[in-house]
């Protein structure tokens, strides 16, 4: 394919090689599966519930709790892989 611009310099990738498969799987579980389950699975049960905390429906309260949980999961996933991609 003709490139309309001059070729861009490819920067050296400063990260270390890929981590082992079991580390990658654990990282996938921590970084994506846990937050997705935490957000999506309780939604049908909490949505429509009459319960509220300080007037806020419990579904939304739970979702707000998932915010620091997601950061914690991503942090642990990063620690697990030792900063490697």
């Amino acid at each position: 394919m003709p490139d309309p611009v001059l070729p861009e310099p490819v920067l050296p990738d400063p990260v270390l090689p890929e981590p082992a498969p079991h580390i990658r799987h654990a990282r996938l579980f921590l970084a994506l599966i846990v937050p997705a389950i935490a957000v999506l699975v309780p939604m049908p049960f909490l949505y429509g519930s009459e319960r509220a905390v300080c007037g806020v429906p419990v579904a939304l309260v739970w979702l707000f709790c998932c915010i620091p949980l997601t950061t914690l999961c991503l942090y642990l996933a990063e620690r697990l892989s030792g900063g490697n991609a």
């Binding site: 394919m1 003709p2 490139d3 309309p4 611009v5 001059l6 070729p7 861009e8 490819v10 920067l11 990738d13 400063p14 990260v15 996938l28 970084a31 994506l32 937050p35 997705a36 957000v39 999506l40 939604m43 049908p44 949505y47 429509g48 009459e50 509220a52 007037g55 806020v56 429906p57 579904a59 939304l60 979702l63 707000f64 998932c66 915010i67 620091p68 997601t70 950061t71 999961c73 991503l74 942090y75 996933a77 990063e78 900063g83 991609a85």
Partner: protein, 469 residues
């Protein structure tokens, strides 16, 4: 006093953008559009946050809750942005590496060069161009609402046009670097503003709300305790399905939005991207404070003129005049920084992917012409808002998500012919449009989801057929 503080904020932001512009190499499109991919964790964090939280988050989130009296908007809005960060944490480093290998600074660059198809590059560029037009319109609608509260003797059209001029200065000044510098100012201001307005709402919760609408009675309950209950959805099952399917589509869709990808390519390395992604969800902790503002509006209907403008109404009623100027400045910056990012990605897509014969030294100028046209068109369409804008907003993700399969093929290392990809995209868009406009009940399912499934089915079917042949 209000206008003076507003102007101080805007002038300071312009100064920052122009200061950043001194460091940009003229004539280098990569420096202009993605800052040569040199942003460290801090600048990348701010530029990414700037593209994540638009004026829609600040005004639309509390406005949607107050207008509906329900939390449905808050649920899907919070959840899809929240889940976009884990997806981005895993997806972005791979996209960044592919971008480096292909010399890509836009999504069409990446798709076209990875799959080896000029047609795919141009078609995906044209699709994104069409999808981005209503986004600018919506920013200017919010911007005009905010600017009309300045009390300046200027018509809304002129105010919006002036805002477009300021957005252009941001972009012309320093490209992505200017957007990043102003994003730092904007984010600091936004945190202060949201906390300040929420605190004022809490302090006035049971007291007198200044400036209630004349002729509208303040109820005894409102004065005493200001208690209220959120409404329940009339049809809980379809409403819940709608929330879940919107989250499922928009979380990955958000990760491939043009302005998000442009911000991604400005990062220095994958480690920078992942480090920023870890902390980005915490910015969502401002949403509970936006909820407080919406709840204040619901509890004090006598102080509300338009529920969808609850944030600005509460700020105007409760804060001193100088603080309102800061709030309006922060809201305007939110829109302008976001517009800056969108304009940059739009300019890059047109200059590189739709008109690829433009020489490198003229790409920046071509991009700027496109940006001017985009801003003027957005201002003009923002002056006639109606159902069309709402519809276009819904269609944005119906179209955008169709590029997800082709992007995932890149990430998985599967180079594919352009025919199955383009047929899949076509099937997805046609299916999505048909489902969006046809009077058929989907049980709450957002049309983008079956449209995406149609895309994947067509893509896989043609790939299988081709491999057998």
């Amino acid at each position: 006093m209000r206008a003076v503080f507003f102007l101080i904020v805007i002038a300071f932001a312009i100064g920052l953008a122009l200061f950043a512009g001194r460091q940009v190499q003229k004539g280098d499109p990569r420096a202009f559009f993605v800052a040569r991919g040199r942003f460290g964790a801090l600048l990348f964090f701010f530029v990414f946050v700037g593209e994540t939280y638009s004026i829609g988050s600040m005004l639309g989130f509390p406005g949607g809750i107050a207008a509906q009296g329900r939390v449905d908007v808050a649920l899907w809005f919070t959840a899809y942005i929240l889940l976009a960060f884990p997806i981005g944490y895993l997806l972005y480093p791979r996209l960044w590496r592919l971008g480096q290998e292909c010399g890509a600074i836009t999504l069409p660059d990446l798709l076209g060069r990875y799959h080896g198809s000029v047609l795919l590059e141009r078609m995906s560029g044209a699709l994104l161009l069409g999808l981005m037009l209503p986004l600018g319109t919506m920013q200017f609608i919010g911007l005009t609402d905010a600017l009309s509260r300045l009390g300046l003797p200027l018509p809304p059209f002129l105010l919006a046009l002036l805002s477009a001029g300021v957005a252009l200065v941001f972009v012309m000044g320093a490209g992505m670097r200017g957007a990043a510098m102003t994003a730092m100012l904007k984010d600091g201001l936004v945190v202060l503003i949201i906390l300040g307005v929420a605190l004022a709402a809490m302090l006035h919760w049971t007291g007198h709300v200044p400036g209630h609408i004349p002729g509208q009675a303040i109820t005894g309950g409102e004065q005493r305790t200001a208690l209220f209950r959120f409404r329940q959805a009339p049809h809980p099952v379809p409403s819940c399905i709608a929330i879940l399917t919107i989250i499922l589509v928009q979380a990955p869709g958000f990760c491939i939005a043009p302005q998000t990808v442009a911000a991604l390519f400005s990062a220095r390395d994958p480690h920078t991207i992942r480090r920023a992604q870890i902390w980005m969800p915490l910015y969502l902790l401002l949403f509970p404070f936006l909820l407080v503002i919406a709840m204040f509006g619901l509890a004090h209907p006598s102080a509300m003129q338009r529920p969808d403008q609850v944030f600005l109404t509460v700020a105007t009623r409760l804060l001193p005049d100088w603080a309102v100027g800061l709030v309006l400045g922060g809201v305007a910056l939110t829109a302008l920084v976001w517009l800056g990012g969108v304009c940059l990605s739009l300019g890059a897509i047109v200059a590189r992917n739709i008109l690829p014969d433009v020489p490198q030294e003229r790409q920046r100028r071509t991009g700027l012409v496109v940006i001017v046209l985009y801003l003027v068109l957005s201002v003009l369409t923002s002056l006639s808002p109606g159902l069309l804008i709402v519809t276009l907003n819904r269609l944005f993700y119906v179209g955008l998500i169709q590029l997800l399969p082709a992007t995932l093929l890149c990430v998985m290392g599967r180079r594919t012919a352009s025919l199955p990809i383009l047929c899949g995209i076509g099937a997805g868009i046609l299916g999505g449009l048909a489902l969006s406009f046809a009077p058929m009940a989907l049980g709450g399912v957002t049309p983008a989801l079956p449209a995406l499934m149609a895309n994947v089915l067509v893509l896989v079917a043609i790939m299988k057929t081709a491999s057998r042949a």
